[in-house]
């Protein structure tokens, strides 16, 4: 046997022993990478032709009022203007909402925020459409408005909706907090406030609608869920589902708002206009419009009362959370849920009482944004842990470790943690990486105008949809006659690379390299409804569906290969697109031959995998149960350097570890960790969408700051921990959202450590640090 052959066979043996893990844990280049680095025209705005006309949305100019009149006369005289569409042009139901039916597509009588949409102007050119919008004169009878959710809770407050301002409330009742506080030596109470964050995907929202001669419509757009968009449009257009075809174009970032109502708004406006005018219509939001109209992260006001024994054991937590939904509930109903379940963080507390409220105001509205209530809850709880540690005179790390969840301990909902809880390993990784104890000593007695500080936070992140509804996905795999494997799903790719991840799963089960796969564009005409691509669920839920589809195909191929190789089907190995006799690797059949033979025999070469997660039961009265079937865990330690004369600080070092169960594509996982952390640092230090009397003051990237390449920590070490979970393929857990959660509390705590200043409202600006320093004597 030659050296080469022997090497080849031994690498083959290695791969074979990995079995189904063939391509798992490998940094395989994502399937949609090439077209991106080549600058190909794959996004919605790149797909227009000369026949396309332009629609621009007409927005409300007042935060609360009744519409007296929409005067389109001036607009109609704008050259190249084609039409103005309003609620009267909607063929079906005038609705663009999510869970609660509280929102119209085009306002018919009442406007509730300056993000509300009254209709659209359609014109031959983009410029004419913009000029047309300017020329529309809407007169309102203004109504009194409310902009503070605490105010909105008062019984005599202005009512944003007739049913009152509480859109949703939730609670947790575990144990007896009065007894718990009685048993505590130390008890502290603080109120924490978080701000509106804008998702700021680099591509804003847009939709392109084509009317078909048979009265149906095809819509291409930037979105997270073609099937949800299809359902919304079918209602708006009064068409059966099969007459509304929605295709997701390559989407330039999403982060949440593109899974809420805005795609329905722009695609709805485009489709209504397209069917009326019988022309293709492109409706897009520029950056300012996008920042005003689409959903933001909910601001929360969180009052936290927490008690601990003298030894540092948490005894009780009482939490009240009030979130500002803005004018409509959107996905806020579920954001409230996640915030509530994560309200006391990654710690075991025997007595917990939580009351949480989703409250309407006349601000522009909030909805999904990466983290989905988790960041707000973590900011409050992790800040509270820091304050408690300081009051107890304990090291913050020790205090956290004493109380943190681990196998055998229970969450706030009473869920017993098993071996799948990788929090201790995450903590160990970051403590080591950051040289925490050494740094503690080093920074013990600082003087001078520059101070350094250490801060940390621990993460619990319930996986996938949890209690939000049925958690399922469909993946279709078809092996073509040419041997190429086509994978299609209603789950969408918009940056995370997760869909490439599920291809890796399918490739591993089939035994065929990822390079032989073709990813289909999500299209309602072909792909099964897979729920929205949210909650970081693609790999966990979609991966399982892919595994099932691939396994069915593999079974059939094993039989064909067994025949061809004259072995038992259990002795068939398919590795890198070649079927081998397990005991005699010289006996093999290439993929092309295998596929050809399968076709010859009439084997069904297309398969669908459907996976639905088991239900996660919990009790709405007590909040007890298992709202999530598994959790992603994490820990982050950061260092800041503060200039105490100006309050300006830099986050110089970040050490983060996440238990992702199984990293299907480690580079992909790291990509989410880097990106999510930087987005979380933005939330921590600089991002703030400001409303004044209901108007967004800074809807521009020149006034709303997101981190640039100059704002990232100089030293960022990230670690992947793998403690397999029970839900995802090969034990995978979600990763796309979690990294955005920990930076804000960790930075806040590091600033506290460096300066003695407790900043209890986000973002932690240099002004708040300096003003805090001025109010107290320096340590």
């Amino acid at each position: 046997m030659t050296e080469q052959l022997s090497q080849f066979l031994s690498s083959l043996k290695e791969k074979a022993e990995k079995g189904q893990l063939l391509y798992i844990g490998q940094n395989i280049t994502r399937v949609d990478g090439l077209e991106k680095v080549m600058g190909k025209p794959i996004y919605t705005a790149d797909l227009l032709d000369r026949n396309t006309v332009y629609a621009k949305l007409i927005r409300s100019k007042v935060p609360h009022g009744t519409i007296k009149d929409i005067d389109v006369s001036l607009a109609k005289s704008v050259p190249r203007l084609l039409d103005v569409i309003t609620w009267r042009d909607i063929p079906g139901i005038n609705e663009s909402a999510s869970i609660l039916p509280d929102r119209e597509l085009f306002c018919s009588s009442v406007v509730r925020s300056t993000g509300d949409i009254l209709g659209a102007v359609v014109a031959e050119t983009y410029g004419a459409a913009v000029d047309g919008v300017d020329a529309i004169k809407v007169s309102y009878d203004p109504l009194p408005a409310v902009f503070d959710p605490i105010e909105a809770l008062k019984p005599d407050s202005v009512k944003v909706h007739p049913g009152g301002n509480i859109a949703k409330q939730m609670k947790i009742r575990k144990g007896d907090v009065d007894r718990g506080f009685a048993a505590s030596k130390v008890m502290i109470e603080n109120t924490y406030r978080t701000q509106f964050q804008d998702a700021t995907p680099m591509e804003t929202e847009m939709g392109l609608a084509f009317p078909r001669d048979d009265g149906s419509v095809v819509v291409i757009g930037s979105m997270q869920s073609p099937h949800n968009t299809q359902a919304a449009l079918a209602k708006i257009l009064d068409l059966p589902l099969k007459r509304v075809r929605v295709v997701q174009a390559s989407t330039g970032g999403a982060f949440g708002p593109k899974s809420d109502e805005t795609p329905y708004d722009v695609c709805g406006a485009a489709a209504v206009a397209a069917l009326k005018l019988r022309r293709p219509v492109f409706c897009s939001l520029d950056r300012e419009e996008s920042m005003i109209v689409h959903t933001k992260r909910h601001p929360f006001v969180i009052r936290h009362r927490t008690g601990a024994t003298a030894e540092g054991q948490l005894t009780a937590a009482e939490v009240e959370m009030v979130s500002d939904a803005g004018a409509y509930a959107s996905l806020g109903v579920y954001v409230l849920g996640r915030a509530t379940f994560h309200s006391v963080g990654a710690y075991e507390i025997p007595n917990v009482k939580v009351d949480s409220y989703l409250v309407y105001t006349n601000n522009t509205y909030a909805g999904s944004l990466r983290g989905f209530g988790g960041p707000q809850a973590a900011f409050a709880m992790e800040s509270q842990m820091e304050e408690l540690a300081r009051r107890l005179g304990m090291d913050p790390l020790e205090f956290r470790m004493r109380n943190m969840l681990a196998p055998g301990r229970r969450t706030a909902t009473g869920h017993l943690m098993d071996a799948g809880c990788g929090l201790p390993q995450c903590v160990e990784a970051v403590v080591k990486s950051s040289s925490y104890w050494h740094k503690r000593e080093l920074y013990r007695n600082q003087t001078g105008p520059v101070r350094r500080g250490l801060g940390m936070a621990f993460l619990i992140h319930g996986n996938s949809l949890g209690p939000e509804g049925n958690d399922y996905a469909v993946v279709q795999i078809e092996i073509g006659r040419d041997g190429k494997v086509s994978l299609g799903t209603g789950l969408t790719e918009y940056g995370t690379g997760a869909v490439s991840g599920i291809i890796q799963v399918a490739a591993s089960v089939l035994g065929v390299p990822v390079g032989d796969f073709v990813l289909e564009r999500p299209d309602t005409i072909k792909h099964g409804e897979s729920g929205p691509t949210v909650a970081s669920r693609t790999v966990v839920i979609g991966g399982n569906a892919a595994k099932l589809a691939a396994a069915k195909l593999r079974k059939r191929l094993d039989l064909v290969a067994a025949d061809l190789l004259k072995v038992d089907k259990r002795d068939v190995l398919i590795v890198d697109g070649v079927a081998y006799d397990r005991h005699n690797s010289a006996s093999n059949v290439p993929w092309s031959r295998l596929v050809e033979e399968a076709y010859r025999r009439g084997v069904k070469m297309a398969e669908e995998g459907y996976f639905m997660a088991p239900p996660s039961p919990w009790d709405a009265e007590t909040g007890q149960g298992t709202p999530y079937l598994q959790y992603t865990w994490g820990a982050l330690i950061c260092e800041v350097q503060v200039d105490v004369e100006t309050g300006r600080y830099d986050v110089t070092d970040v050490h983060a570890a996440y238990d992702v169960g199984r990293a299907v594509n480690p580079a992909g996982v790291m990509g989410q960790i880097y990106g999510g952390t930087v987005q979380g640092l933005g939330y921590a230090t600089m991002e703030e969408l400001v409303h004044k009397d209901g108007e967004v003051v800074n809807p521009s990237l020149g006034d709303y700051y997101i981190p640039t390449s100059m704002d990232i920590p100089k030293n960022f070490k990230a670690y992947i921990v793998e403690v397999p979970g029970t839900l995802g393929p090969f034990g995978a857990k979600v990763i796309a959202e979690p990294p955005i959660v920990l930076p804000a509390p960790a930075v806040r705590n590091a600033v506290l450590d460096a300066t003695g200043v407790s900043v209890n409202d986000l973002p932690v600006t240099s002004e708040k640090v300096l003003m805090g320093l001025k109010r107290k004597p320096p340590e």
């Binding site: 680095v37 025209p41 995907p201 680099m202 940056g495 992909g668 990509g671 880097y674 640039t708 390449s709």
Partner: protein
Amino acid sequence: MNEAEQSFYVDSSDRLIDVLRDRLGLKSVKEGCGTGDCGLCAVLLNGRLVNSCLVLAAQCRGASVTTLEGLLNDPLTRKLQSKFLEHNAAQCGFCTPAMLVAAKDILTHTPRPSTGQIQAGLSGVLCRCTGYYPIIQAIKEVSEEEKERS
């Protein structure tokens, strides 16, 4: 225009980005904000990195303009593209063309940039997905490999 001479009439208020995308079909140039704050429309104008949403097309008479499409045969750009793929530096891909043009600009003016110089060179192009680290790493590696070759 990308090494080929072209002439045509433009409207006074046409921006360079409008001509590039709509007239010339060069869709790699993206509009992310229209106010010069995101850099996704960045192109090379007479060899300098500029935001094409803030330049009027008429101001480009006699100038040379380069977009990513014009760099597809450039060996340095090809190396950058390859490294971007290797390091997962393109997630949603929307900032990728501008990042590649900016990277080309950095390496043209500073063949062996420090990490800080790379960060400064990219500071006018926003990315929301990657956190910038893989992009910086890809550029650094290309510059180091170029250095070894020469």
